[in-house]
């Protein structure tokens, strides 16, 4: 199968300019995602504390999904291999970001302490989210109805964004969190979640009838914004690592 793959420029939306910008954006996202993954991993190794492993590993997976999405996108551009299923990877990225925000909040305001209340949705929501991710990946891989998959993708991303945003905002406004390192990390990850989720959410415009090329022009902006937001979040990871 790999032998059948040919190297060569595959224009995004048939537009050379858009292809060039997409290429740059994806490379940027890949590099910064890799850096993010590296520091999340280093924090995980250095912290070695019960209760923090899941946080750092989830953050590492956030980076991995960003890298994978970027890598598949670049492969799509520079070869004959088509990788539409990368949209599922981006949805997984958004899901993991929302999960991380909830983990950060829960770690800082343990259940049972004043102000903890109900901190975000429970396990069923996340399992359902994972199923949707699998569904979108499978749907795009097997060329299912484009509009149906795009709708599922966009709505799921909206739900993840909503959950992540609400939990994140509650975290940053909780007096138990304000001023702490967690507070800063939440504030750094919220923009990542916002811009990353807008990439799949933009697919809803296609369902609404907007031209795919126009949507691609919008999406590339969000890819760049996601990459830059990841960069600032990485700074926080580096700072934390320095204290470990």
């Amino acid at each position: 199968m790999i032998a059948a793959v040919e190297l060569g420029l595959d224009l995004v939306g048939g537009n050379p300019n858009l292809t060039f910008i997409f290429f740059i954006a994806l490379v940027l996202l890949g590099v910064l995602g890799l850096r993010f993954t590296f520091y999340a991993y280093r924090n995980d190794r250095a912290a070695d504390l019960a209760g923090q492993e899941s946080l750092w590993r989830t953050l590492a997976f956030v980076g991995v999904t960003a890298v994978l999405f970027a890598l598949l996108g670049v492969v799509d551009i520079v070869s004959s291999l088509q990788t539409p299923y990368r949209r599922g990877v981006m949805l997984a990225h958004v899901l993991l970001l929302a999960l991380v925000l909830q983990s950060l909040y829960r770690n800082s305001v343990p259940t049972g302490t004043p102000g903890s209340g109900a901190v975000g949705p429970g396990r069923p929501f996340w399992l359902a989210g994972a199923l949707v991710v699998v569904g979108v990946t499978a749907g795009t891989a097997w060329n299912a109805d484009h509009h149906a998959v795009a709708a599922l993708e966009g709505i799921a991303a909206l739900a993840f964004l909503a959950v992540g945003f609400v939990v994140g905002r509650r975290g940053t406004s909780a007096s138990r969190v304000q001023g702490t390192v967690v507070d800063t990390l939440l504030r750094h990850l919220l923009p990542v979640l916002l811009f990353a989720s807008l990439i799949p959410i933009a697919e809803l415009a296609v369902v609404a009838g907007l031209d795919q090329v126009v949507v691609l022009h919008i999406q590339v902006v969000f890819v760049i914004m996601t990459a830059t937001a990841l960069m600032t979040a990485t700074i926080k990871l580096r700072q934390n690592l320095a204290g470990l």
Binding site: R176, Q178, V181, N240, L244
Partner: protein, 497 residues
């Protein structure tokens, strides 16, 4: 000003009666009670001895603590009858515990000083004991402050080969610190009749005939090496956690300065590296002492042994009882501001505990709230590598990273934790954790941060400040002390009537 009249302290008799009413509270009052064995009034000293016996009778587990505290006093050059009385009672009531503790003290003394190669680790319980060997604390007055009565003594180095020392023995200069103009802070007249008689043999009152009170020979070289025109030792040596400290009066460009002269303890091994490291830390400390709440470093040097001449301080937070709410808020805010200043200048204190929060002790109005100052800035980073860290930092206030490397390095977040522990103490009067070393370690590493409101009524928001500062994981601590300072100042503002 007497110790018992110091701001923020309980009226002594009321404090003693409180122990009688409820001996179970005696555990946290013990440091104060032991400190009262040095009170000027005989009735207070006797009452304190009685109260200590009363607490010991009800709380057998205090025997070990009392053995150490009282033994130190009995070992002193001028043991008080009251301390002996209390010690005899404890020894008679708990002979096994006292014997065991004395044996442990003997073993520790033989093994000290020790080289401590394990960086970032606390290994043994031996908490900072407030007022042990600090019998001047809280009731010192400096030369020239007046309000003095009765005889007093001024001690100077008598090394005649040093010019500055010779200036120090100049009768004209001595006038400034002699006679009625100088203080009687050490209360020599009442506690050390032999010393007074020795003093009377000297026409100028500045020579020393009591070997037990004589400054170390190191002082001569310090005087010669320092930038002071004159450095006059006013009181006997006090053995601190980091250094032997002399209360002195320095003259610099014609201006008199109360100076605490610290001669740092030298390790038995790695002395050269220690000296270099302590020099670097003192330089850093001097670089940040321009803040009102940081003890000023006037001069330092390495001749003979590392020394530093700093602003003289009267007593520490460890010597104080629980503070009034407004004073606790003031102290907490000021200390946070001081730590923020250190961090802004790239300095991590690393050893903030009640023994390193000090007060000048110089007040005109007894109701005046004294500003707290940070002492020994950054020195623990060096000292803990050469000496037993548990004797330089009170484990009850130590951050988790001191107990377990997995919690990270000693950095600004460590100061945040220690500051949170101090805030807890300021408001509750108790340390955040107490007990044997192992118990403290386990609780620091596993328990959620303590909340002051579980002990006393505190202003809204204070629980959050303490629990955020004392979070086990650095992730959950304040990122910057300035955040903590802002929240403390906000609480102080909201608490104002």
């Amino acid at each position: 000003m007497s110790e018992d009249a110091a701001p923020g302290r309980d009226e002594p008799i009321a404090s003693l009666l409180a122990v009688f009413d409820d001996p179970s509270t005696g555990r946290r009052r013990l440091p104060g009670l032991v400190g009262k064995l040095d009170a000027d009034a005989e009735s207070v000293r006797l009452g304190a001895a009685w109260a200590i016996c009363h607490v010991a009778a009800h709380l057998p587990d205090t025997a070990a603590y009392l053995t150490r505290r009282l033994a130190d006093r009995i070992d002193d050059e001028g043991p008080s009858l009251e301390a002996e009385l209390a010690f005899d009672y404890v020894a008679a009531r708990y002979p096994d515990a006292v014997a065991e503790e004395l044996a442990a003290m003997e073993t520790e003394a033989e093994s000290r000083p020790r080289y401590w190669p394990v960086e970032g680790s606390l290994a043994r319980a031996n908490y900072h004991r407030p007022a042990v060997g600090e019998r001047d604390v809280g009731r010192t007055r400096l030369a020239g402050e007046g309000n003095s009565s009765g005889p007093q003594r001024v001690y100077t180095d008598d090394g005649s080969s040093h010019d500055r020392l010779q200036r120090g023995t100049d009768p004209a200069a001595g006038d400034a610190v002699d006679g009625d103009e100088a203080d009687d802070g050490d209360d020599v007249s009442s506690e050390r009749p032999d010393a007074r008689s020795a003093s009377s043999k000297d026409s100028d009152g500045q020579s020393i005939s009591d070997a037990g009170w004589q400054p170390a020979d190191d002082i001569s070289s310090v005087v010669a090496d320092s930038r002071f025109d004159q450095l006059t030792v006013l009181a006997k040596r006090r053995r601190g956690r980091y250094a032997d400290v002399y209360r002195t009066m320095g003259v610099l460009d014609g201006e008199q300065l109360p100076v605490g002269l610290s001669l740092y303890h030298r390790p038995s091994q790695g002395s050269e590296a220690f000296v270099t490291a302590i020099d670097e830390r003192l330089a850093r400390w001097a670089g940040v002492d321009d803040h009102d709440n940081v003890v000023a470093v006037y001069d330092w040097g390495l001749d003979s042994r590392p020394w530093a001449a700093t602003e003289h301080m009267g007593f520490s937070l460890a010597d104080r009882d629980r503070l009034e709410l407004s004073e606790a808020l003031f102290n907490a805010s000021e200390l946070a501001g001081a730590v923020a200043h250190l961090h802004e200048n790239g300095v991590v204190h690393g050893g903030i505990d009640p023994g390193n929060v000090v007060y000048s002790g110089n007040v005109i109005d007894e109701d005046e709230v004294q500003p707290p100052l940070l002492d020994d800035v950054g020195l623990l980073h060096v000292v803990r590598n050469y000496f037993d860290p548990t004797e330089r930092l009170d484990p009850r206030y130590a951050a988790p990273e001191y107990f377990d490397r997995r919690f990270g390095r000693i950095d600004h977040a460590t100061d945040v934790y220690h500051l949170g522990a101090l805030v807890y103490l300021l408001f509750t009067g108790d340390p955040p954790y107490d007990g044997e070393y192992g118990r403290i370690r386990d609780r620091v590493l596993t328990d959620p941060p303590p909340r002051p409101s579980d002990v006393v009524a505190v202003p809204d928001g204070l629980d959050d400040v303490v629990t955020k500062a004392m979070a086990r994981q650095k992730l959950q601590r304040y990122e910057m002390v300035t955040h903590m300072e802002q929240e403390l100042r906000r609480i102080a503002t909201e608490d104002e009537p």
